[in-house]
Symmetry: C2
Subunit: 94 residues, 2 copies
């Protein structure tokens, strides 16, 4: 007797890029730039810092997973006042 049906579940991997919005100060990038120039790399013009979370998630479809990931960004991972985010699927895992 079949008690339950097996649903196809996919494990998907997404990279969530959390970047500062235009015009927001980036002290980490600025101090990295200063340190690089002190080390002699005078040709470096700008450094920006970006945070990436690589997330493995179970879902029935890519759309469903993307919806959930956007919700996570808005509730926890990004601060909408200063950050913008984008979701990028890692190849070979979708």
């Amino acid at each position: 007797m079949l008690l339950f049906s097996i649903k196809s579940i996919l494990i998907m991997i997404a990279d969530i890029y959390i970047e500062l919005k235009e015009g927001v100060a980036d002290p980490e990038g600025e101090s990295t730039l200063k340190a690089l120039r002190l080390l002699g790399y005078k040709r470096v013009k700008k450094v920006s810092s970006i945070k990436v979370f690589r997330i493995e998630i179970d879902a029935k479809s890519k759309e469903e997973a993307e919806k959930e990931l956007r919700e996570m960004c808005e509730r926890l991972l990004a601060n909408p006042v200063i950050h913008k985010y984008r979701i990028s699927w890692v190849d070979g895992n979708v």
Copy 2:
């Protein structure tokens, strides 16, 4: 009278990905995973944190810039004991 020749200088943009090596503890990823699960996202299986530096650099060629970027990673940006790094050129700026 021409006192100097103008050399072609390109401004290139590269993303430097600094990731933890396999087996190295990732407390930031782990606490993000815990927080997401507490918020109800039970389908998230793993979270890893990655640091990205977006660097604008002047150089005569891509090869020259890449050599300099590798040196920066080894001297300042990455810790070779726990990190691996990779350089990815940002499209449209090379």
